[in-house]
């Protein structure tokens, strides 16, 4: 039933001939909503006094008489004026195919599905048809289909997938072999290949639950946090820069939000808690903020989420418009992450395709406005909160006083030594010369007489300064060094000030949000009550946040809203989150437009499965790991990726595990891991990238890619060539390009060559001198398997040829090692390495 509705909706949108009997509610009103209702129904003030929200109102007509005559299109001005191009005014016209539909419908008597109501509330409201759209249905846990034991159904997930497979006469592919499975799971969960030890241990474990245990081990790994945080950071629009034009100002403290996400994911912080902290962490803190405990710093770091979008307010220009754009972008990120509908379409007028009104958009903004505070907008630089406690501040003042004192002591001591050495040296001159010499040196340079100048110039050895004391007195050096050391010791005690950047709602801000006429912030109209999208509540109700929370210093609007989202009954949030987790594992979502579940998005491939997982996520206490576990332990996930069944060649039904190209970060990290160069240092400020001589952006760091600086205008060359997110607001879904540029990076790039050389050295160290052992080792490191029959021979031949060739070319250095480097590079750049099995 769900599918049928969806497909009907889509055919309508594409304007292809629909079912024979066209109905107003299902076929015609959606077209009118896009092209007509803005002026003829949405507003109380009707253009030409014509209301097209109901058939009977169209028949009644407006200033220019009836707009519709049942059975007679040529006497129906509504369609005649569309045909002539007169309506709608402006540049966008009704496509011909849709005019044809309206024509046909009028000819057929302009039927409606049901009797039309006697009275209508103002505005477009939400029709029964719109409410019937699958995504807006209340979330109800679907019954799990029955399966026979021979069906290899391990879990409810399998049952849902198998039901569709069976209906097409397709079976699950057999489970992949153990070696494939551990590579698949390790890359999926940690973004790193399994170590040889891990592979051996898993192969040796013959227990029935060896696979499940292996999954659990990787889920518990810190690397899991670094890998899955990156999935979230895509949709959160994570960036270490503001994206403000060519300056693209750095955000020195964005990393705390990145680290927050890593820690939250790793510890399986329940998603309701994680999003509560991200949306409203600051509302959990007292005002004024005072000394921050580490837990409180985390809460502020979490709100970095609301500041991740591009923000050009630092660059100057039209402040009101820039702030409005920054807010709109943040709302895009929030809705992409939690609502799965493009609320931005309702910024200027009612959403044309989904039941999201212009007012709804501003109701949502009103939830955040006291914090963003457009009328008291803070430029990016002004948003930081110091992490220094009162006590640390006092300590700093104290240490600074000590520092001044010690510094003066040191200076005095130096002067004392300079004087002493000067006297000692001047004593070496004959008595009569001493007075004029002393006078000359003690006189400041500008006031010296010509004779004094000459004296000074002729006797450079009397020009004693702190810098040359060492040439005269080792004792002076020793004494001063002691003072320097104690100065340094004092300085090292000085507390260093650092900051967290996020969104902090100021106490007492009561921002009244008004609808912006046509989305223009300079034209506010009616005020709105903050709240959730109307469509997300059952018919006749709406989640309003009418009163600000009196128990906390802030309005509490964001707290109220995010708690509402995670009550478990919200139709949007659970589905959106479950879909995103699924997409992380399979490379495509059940709804493959993961930020657009509305009419503009793609239909779900397995709607019941999605609903089931959304319910399961809520009932598990929003534990992402428990859903991971369920997905990874399923037969769907364990299937071989090599078996292709004709009835499902494109794998829409999941009759095999999809082969996926690794994401940019995984390619890089996997290379570092195999070469033995991976620097496992965790957390902290972004590792800066710099432009090299060839104008490419890279870093010299071997840390995991997630720690490299993400600048909107200056993406790291290797990562961006493999489709890491760039300048856009956020990334709902990675694209997967295949380009010659990537091939050049892999063939000639320094990073890949360096890792190949390091891998060759590692192979030599670990395998010793025997060429055949070296080759096995290289294959095992790169591909996590022993060489295939014939493969070792081919590689031996390659090595021999390369060594000989290099020798004839007069290669300077170890030709065997150079050959091995070349071999390692081909392993690191081959499809077996770049794609997950």
């Amino acid at each position: 039933m769900l599918m049928v509705l969806t497909i009907a909706g889509l055919t309508m949108l594409q304007g292809t001939p629909a079912a024979p009997s066209l109905m107003f509610e299902t076929d015609i009103r959606p077209i009118l909503k896009v092209y007509c209702l803005d002026c003829h129904g949405a507003d109380d003030k009707l253009s030409g006094n014509l209301d097209l929200r109901l058939v009977r109102l169209a028949i009644k007509g407006g200033k220019h008489g009836p707009a519709l005559k049942q059975g007679d299109p040529s006497a129906s001005s509504m369609v005649e004026r569309m045909k002539s191009g007169e309506m709608p005014p402006g540049e966008k016209k009704v496509p011909e195919a849709q005019v044809v539909l309206i024509d046909r419908w009028i000819k057929a008597g302009a039927p409606t599905r049901r009797a039309e109501p006697d009275r209508l509330d103002s505005g477009l409201g939400i029709t029964a048809e719109e409410r019937n759209y699958w995504f807006f249905q209340p979330l109800v846990r679907p019954a799990v289909p029955m399966a026979a034991s021979k069906d290899r159904v391990r879990s409810p997930i399998d049952a849902f997938v198998f039901q569709r497979l069976k209906s097409q006469g397709v079976d699950f592919a057999p489970d992949a072999d153990k070696r494939t499975l551990i590579v698949r799971v390790a890359l999926d969960l940690t973004g790193l290949p399994p170590s040889e030890k891990e592979i051996q241990a898993f192969l040796a474990d013959s227990g029935n639950d060896s696979y499940e245990k292996m999954v659990d081990r990787y889920l518990a790994s810190p690397a899991y946090g670094e890998r899955w945080a990156r999935h979230w950071l895509d949709v959160f629009g994570y960036s270490d820069s503001d994206g403000d034009g060519t300056a693209d100002t750095q955000r020195p403290y964005a990393f705390r939000f990145r680290d927050y996400v890593i820690r939250s994911v790793e510890s399986d912080k329940p998603l309701d808690r994680m999003f509560l902290e991200m949306v409203a962490g600051d509302e959990l803190l007292p005002r004024p903020l005072g000394d921050l405990s580490p837990a409180q710093v985390e809460l502020l770091a979490a709100t970095g989420f609301l500041r991740m979008g591009p923000d050009s307010t630092a660059a100057g220009g039209e402040a009101v418009l820039n702030a409005d754009q920054a807010i709109a972008d943040s709302l895009k990120i929030i809705s992409a992450s939690l609502l799965g509908v493009s609320v931005g379409c309702a910024q200027c007028h009612d959403h044309k395709y989904d039941p999201i009104s212009h007012a709804d958009y501003f109701r949502l903004r009103a939830v955040f406005n006291p914090a963003w505070n457009p009328s008291g907008w803070k430029a990016p630089g002004a948003r930081v909160v110091s992490l220094m406690t009162q006590q640390q501040r006092q300590e700093r003042t104290k240490v600074e006083a000590e520092e001044r004192e010690a510094s003066m002591r040191r200076e005095a001591k130096a002067q004392e030594w300079i004087g002493r050495v000067f006297e000692q040296e001047i004593g070496k001159f004959p008595e009569p010369q001493r007075v004029p010499l002393r006078d000359a040196f003690k006189t400041v340079a500008e006031k010296r007489t010509p004779e004094q100048k000459k004296l000074v110039d002729d006797n450079p050895k009397l020009a004693i300064s702190a810098g040359v004391l060492y040439q005269y007195s080792p004792q002076a050096v020793e004494e001063l060094k002691k003072l320097d050391d104690s100065l340094a010791a004092i300085r090292s005690r000085k507390p260093v000030e650092s900051f967290v950047a996020g969104l902090v709602e100021d106490a007492g801000v009561t921002f009244q949000t008004k609808i912006h006429y046509r989305g223009d912030p300079r034209q506010p109209t009616k005020p709105v009550v903050p709240g959730d999208l109307t469509i997300a509540s059952p018919d006749g109700s709406r989640f309003d946040i009418s009163d600000d929370d009196p128990t906390i210093p802030t309005t509490g609007r964001r707290l109220a809203w995010v708690r509402h989202l995670f009550k478990g009954s919200h139709p949007l949030t659970g589905r959106v989150l479950a879909n995103r987790l699924w997409m992380g594992h399979f490379g495509r979502g059940i709804v493959d437009t993961p930020a657009e579940f509305g009419k503009l998005g793609l239909a779900p491939s397995h709607p019941e499965l999605l609903d089931w997982m959304a319910c399961q996520l809520a009932s598990s206490g929003w534990s992402a790991k428990s859903l991971h576990r369920m997905i990874l332990n399923s037969t769907v996930y364990r299937q071989s990726s090599k078996i292709v069944q004709a009835a499902d060649r494109s794998n829409n039904l999941y009759s095999r595990f999809p082969v996926k190209r690794l994401e940019a970060e995984v390619i890089r990290d996997r290379m570092l891991s195999v070469s033995g160069q991976l620097d496992a240092t965790r957390f902290g400020p972004a590792v800066v990238t710099a432009e090299d001589a060839a104008g490419l952006l890279n870093s010299n760091s071997n840390r995991r890619a997630i720690y490299l600086e993400v600048r909107r205008s200056r993406p790291e060359t290797m990562l961006s060539s493999f489709d890491a997110p760039g300048a856009a607001v956020n990334c709902d879904r990675r694209s997967q390009a295949t380009s010659a540029m990537q091939a050049l990076v892999l063939m000639n790039g320094d990073f890949v060559r360096n890792q190949s050389a390091a891998m060759a050295k590692r192979v030599i160290t670990e395998a010793g001198a025997d060429p055949s052992i070296r080759i096995s080792k290289a294959i095992e490191l790169g591909f996590c398997r022993p060489p295939f029959a014939g493969e070792a021979g081919m590689l031996m031949q390659f090595m021999a040829d390369q060594s000989a060739l290099l020798k004839t070319e007069g290669f300077k250095g170890d030709v065997n090692e150079a050959g091995l480097t070349n071999l390692c590079q081909q392993i690191l750049t081959s499809n077996e390495f770049l794609y997950a099995p």
Partner: protein
């Protein structure tokens, strides 16, 4: 070969010869390139750069765009206004929107430079563009451009992405290569020649593929060697060593692909190595202007300090288009045409840098028989005001003007030796036959064989077009 040409062109010949990749033994994979599955309605064209037919026979198969960031002063270059000179120094009576209000003035500022008629067509061109004047009969000057916005970025984005001020959209070049793919199997389809002075204003947005995959993004050639990153083999890897490396890689990939027969992406990647290997050979060749004669060097001004850099890039642009690159766009660092002050020095300087090379491109394309199928565009995002900025003295400049300005186009189906449209009496607003950036885009795509209303991209369930549902017209009057 192009569907509309009978004799193989110089471009065809260069496209078809000289790969020298047979040694790789992967000829079968090349066929991958030419197989482009037609897309179904509601679907995107295949994610590839295989050449594909547009909606109608094209007049142009390639385009070179000389983008003039900053707003070239049309009343000093291409749009003579005798009345502006006549009333110079008096107050302008119309409304003016100023960007730099602190230096605003309503004093009309007649051009300090002389215009005269050139060619058989008698197109009037300023003495600042003596070389362009010589190709007057080959170019069509459009004097009625209008963005309606005076700002740089807002108008730049209008020209590139189709909507004024909005970023995150694919650029004109992205749409072109998305719709048509590339005729070069050896070079990227969409190339950007950047300036040694740095990125133009609005940075990478100028060649972004927006919501399209990065495959359709402009590939930026660096302003100096290495112009293409990663093109050079690593130290210690000779041609012979690399050939063996790629041979081994192909073997590894071939075996792997047999295990995953249903994954087209694996074969695309194998083919991408092929292209990369070909690029190593052909790109360095395409970029090597030393292979041109001394006469060609002189034509483009490579023998002169003022014109050498821009001339080299113009010559490279020609060599790229010759090799089947679909779209080449040249940028200038910063915005040298943004003459707010001392226009009397600033404008001649940037003209000296660009005039000769730009004209040489037309001359050269024409004598090589390529001008008919290569569309050339010269122009900025805005023009400049007829009134002066600051005092009307030696330091006078001109403020932004998006209400009326000039560009020129040539070749690829454009009628040469004509002017089109008019601004008002002083060159402030376009008044006759107004052409906005969407009309410009519609015309460009039309010449390339694309109907702008039918070229769609689907992302996140949304259908987008370059000219996003707005009305735009193909300027038929300037087509031949």
């Amino acid at each position: 070969m192009h569907p509309n040409s009978i004799v193989p062109s110089r471009r065809d010949l260069l496209c078809q010869t000289g790969f020298g990749v047979g040694a790789m033994g992967l000829a079968s994979l090349l066929s991958q390139d030419s197989v482009a599955a037609p897309s179904k309605p509601g679907e995107n064209l295949p994610l590839s750069l295989s050449p594909r037919a547009g909606h109608h026979a094209p007049r142009a198969t390639a385009m070179i765009s000389l983008f003039m960031h900053g707003g070239p002063s049309h009343v000093d270059l291409l749009d003579p206004k005798p009345n502006l000179s006549k009333f110079s120094g008096t107050d302008y009576q119309g409304d003016v929107h100023f960007s730099f209000v602190n230096r605003a003035s309503k004093k009309l500022f007649g051009t300090p430079w002389k215009f005269s008629k050139h060619g058989r067509s008698g197109t009037e061109i300023s003495e600042l563009l003596p070389y362009t004047a010589r190709v007057a009969d080959d170019i069509c000057v459009i004097r009625s451009m209008q963005t309606g916005h005076n700002g740089h970025e807002v108008s730049i984005r209008y020209f590139h992405g189709g909507i004024a001020g909005v970023t995150g959209r694919p650029t004109l070049g992205s749409w072109m290569v998305y719709g048509l793919g590339s005729e070069s199997r050896d070079l990227p389809a969409y190339l950007v020649l950047s300036d040694p002075g740095g990125h133009p204003v609005d940075g990478t947005h100028n060649w972004s593929s927006g919501f399209m995959p990065s495959l359709y993004q402009g590939t930026v050639l660096r302003p100096k060697e290495p112009r293409i990153p990663f093109l050079d083999r690593p130290t210690g890897v000779s041609v012979a060593v690399q050939r063996r490396n790629l041979g081994l890689l192909a073997e590894l990939n071939k075996r792997h692909a047999t295990e995953y027969s249903a994954e087209p992406d694996l074969n695309s990647r194998i083919a991408s190595y092929e292209l990369a290997a070909r690029m190593q050979l052909s790109a360095s060749d395409a970029l090597d202007v030393s292979r041109e004669t001394a006469e060609v060097h002189r034509l483009y001004g490579l023998d002169n300090d003022a014109t050498r850099e821009y001339g080299t890039r113009c010559l490279i642009a020609r060599r790229l288009v010759e090799r089947g690159v679909r779209f080449v766009q040249m940028f200038l660092g910063g915005q040298p045409w943004d003459n707010h002050t001392t226009i009397k020095d600033g404008l001649p300087a940037i003209c000296r840098r660009t005039d000769q090379p730009a004209a040489a491109l037309i001359t050269d394309l024409k004598r090589l028989g390529m001008l008919d199928t290569t569309l050339v565009h010269w122009g900025g995002e805005i023009g400049r005001l007829p009134v002066c900025e600051g005092a009307l003295d030696a330091n006078a400049g001109r403020d932004h003007n998006g209400q009326g300005f000039s560009i020129w186009m040539a070749g690829g189906g454009i009628k040469g030796g004509m002017t089109y449209g008019n601004t008002d009496d002083v060159g402030h607003r376009a008044v006759d036959n107004v052409v906005n950036p969407n009309d410009f885009q519609a015309t460009v795509l039309h010449l390339m064989g694309i109907n702008h209303e039918r070229l769609e991209f689907h992302a996140n369930g949304r259908v987008s077009r370059l000219i996003d549902g707005k009305k735009a017209r193909v300027v038929q009057e300037i087509l031949c």
